[in-house]
Symmetry: C2
Subunit: 419 residues, 2 copies
């Protein structure tokens, strides 16, 4: 008799898991459905896709849950997202806004950290009962994180990646990640009992050295090697070379301790000079289009409603989220000293999403037994909510620029290519 048990292994074995394929289908289709719905409601597609993750994830429908596979696809998704953004970012344009980006990053680290720490010191003891100073410090560290993927996607969808403020945000996000690494290293070592300054110095040196080296020398290396690669026997060898560089620098960045996406972004910038003529940008965008929904849905799937059982915890989560938004707007905004008010807000809000980076800091805190399960839930909520609040605000803040772009017509090739 051929029963379902018999046919099931065929499906699972032969097809790398029919269940897995079904999961991929549900994630991709629900993301695109929600993206379309949110676009019609004049909301950014990005938050539609994160919302799809909340909907189909463990919190509501329980159709799909985060697994190692969805995590890997999400990771590859955000790597391709940043790689593609890098492909469209000329190094010199980023260096031109370098000082401003540095200021935005530094103040965008200090202010949110202090706000997060002080907030927990003032509220935490009363509201959460059992609570340690190191937990407050960890919440501060989680406030430091910036997930540039979300903002990059929103600005890319609007065709506005070439604006000066967009470049400030991108540059600041790279520096922010290096600074965030150092903060996390210090905080983690505090949690473990003491600070090894030498080790932290080495970590910081490696991170800064890698970033600077790739940003400064990388482009020239690629220009020299590219024509040789194009002469290889294998077809599409230039695309393969770029993909290998992207994965390679992601691994190196990850090993040094900064986010893999920083490596991917730098890899993209290395190819920026030739990304249009070689068709590399279009190819990379196609791969990104397939992968990015897995990144966005995966953020939504992380939301754990069960953590929010008491009213106090809900209130604390809302307050922490507001403080996280406020911290970046004030900190990064202050660094935009002398600029127009609108630009101050654009950069502040653009740096606000904590996304997957904030989630990771929370996970590390949980892993070190430094923060409680409740606090983990609160930080997770903050990371997801800042990620969902920023895109609609950005859409409003950049409305005028998009209109100008639309009326100029000729200069809007970005909108076509990145859309």
């Amino acid at each position: 008799m051929i029963d379902q048990q018999l046919m099931a292994p065929l499906a699972i074995e032969q097809h790398g898991g029919e269940g897995v394929l079904l999961g991929l289908l549900i994630i991709f289709a629900s993301a695109k459905l929600m993206a379309e719905l949110f676009e019609r409601l004049r909301q950014p597609a990005v938050i539609g896709e994160i919302f799809a993750g909340i909907l189909i994830g463990p919190s509501v429908l329980k159709w799909v849950e985060p697994t190692e596979i969805t995590n890997v696809l999400a990771e590859v998704g955000v790597i391709f997202l940043l790689f593609t953004v890098g492909l469209d970012t000329q190094t010199r344009d980023l260096f031109r806004v370098g000082k401003r980006a540095l200021a935005v990053a530094v103040l965008g680290v200090i202010v949110p950290f202090l706000i997060g720490y002080l907030l927990m010191e003032w509220l935490g003891y009363d509201w959460l009962g059992d609570h340690s100073k190191i937990e407050s410090i960890f919440v501060g560290a989680a406030m430091v994180a910036t997930s540039v993927g979300i903002t990059a996607r929103v600005l890319g969808d609007m065709g506005l990646l070439h604006l000066e403020v967009s470049r400030i945000i991108l540059g600041a996000a790279v520096i922010d990640d290096v600074l965030g690494l150092i903060v996390l290293a210090v905080v983690s070592s505090l949690a473990e009992g003491g600070i090894d300054y030498l080790q932290i110095g080495i970590t910081a040196g490696l991170a800064i050295g890698f970033t600077a080296f790739v940003a400064i020398v990388g482009g020239r290396v690629v220009t020299r090697v590219s024509h040789r690669v194009q002469n290889l026997r294998l077809k599409e060898s230039h695309f393969h070379f770029a993909l290998i560089t992207c994965l390679g620098l992601s691994v190196v960045a990850s090993r040094i301790g900064i986010a893999a996406i920083i490596g991917a972004f730098l890899a993209g910038m290395m190819f920026a000079a030739e990304s249009r003529d070689t068709g590399l940008l279009h190819r990379s965008e196609a791969v990104m289009e397939f992968f990015v929904p897995f990144f966005l849905v995966n953020i939504g799937m992380q939301l754990q409603v069960e953590s929010f059982l008491s009213t106090q915890v809900i209130w604390l989560a809302v307050i922490v989220t507001a403080a996280a938004l406020f911290g970046k707007v004030v900190g990064c905004g202050a660094a935009m000293f002398g600029k127009k008010w609108k630009e101050v807000l654009q950069v502040g809000v653009g740096m606000a999403p904590r996304g997957e980076v904030g989630i990771v800091v929370a996970q590390i805190g949980l892993g070190l037994h430094t923060i409680s399960n409740e606090m983990y839930g609160i930080v997770l909520f903050m990371a997801i909510m800042t990620t969902m609040i920023a895109p609609p605000l950005l859409k409003v803040l950049f409305r005028e620029e998009q209109r100008t772009l639309g009326s100029e017509g000729g200069q809007s090739d970005e909108a076509v290519i990145l859309g």
Copy 2:
């Protein structure tokens, strides 16, 4: 103190596993390195990438081993491969060779099955000792499988997918998969003690019905829906629609019991009429370029050298491999009755790779405790070796056509686009 233990979780959690990323890098880079090397040795890139899998896999260097993640990436890879081939295959062209393809598929099932079964009955008892008739039947069933992905990739790389013989191979492979499903259903139910004719009839009906329905009606549905989809708010909505269709039909095919790749191929054919004008073919090719190495390397990684401890087992594996090649060439070749000798061989060899489909049949046999571990190793060897032997033979057999194509110039757009 910040030691490696502390930094490691950062990398692993934040980046979906630095180890996983490193694995992806090793797989992709080694595949492309070997592909280039084999191209220089005038061998097909495809076998270079499978060879890379043998090299870095558990058999030799042990750098990477098959995991659920590599399996999923491999599965998505072969799905995109067949989807892309489908995008370039007009339904009417396939129907034009329908009768011939049917004959090739039917004889390509019967002859290899009989050869495999009889070979095991004659040799198996003496050589393997403890051995059952159902084991011989299972080896026969494994002989039936055809992995069209390999041949499609080789012909695509050569720019020859539009030849009549290529279409016969593609059509026959689809039918072969449906027939293979029925054979496997019968054999598996035999292994479990009896045949449920009704259930097998339903399975066969579903498989045939699905394939015929999608092939006949699918294209028209897509043509009607496509312009509506293109009017959606979301950018790239047509590409998303195609991806959802591809994943959706893969899941349905998989659930019915035929290979997911058949669903992907049919989905591709549904969009074939509009795949060039909409840029769908180029986008799909870019995604395929990223994924296919994982499919090919994964085949190589399956090879288990430990299974081959005795000389007798090695000899049997070589004989079974030769018989598998011979079976398809004779069976499929016979169905090419009345054609030129070269075309007979082209189709016979083109149908010979067993690839991942043969591996799956062996896994099912192992799962049902129908075949021994030794026999599993032998069938695995046969599946991988037929997959590695066919491409160089195909390259020789199609050399003249490729030369003609090159000199015609104008008609060689395939070579550019699929290369």
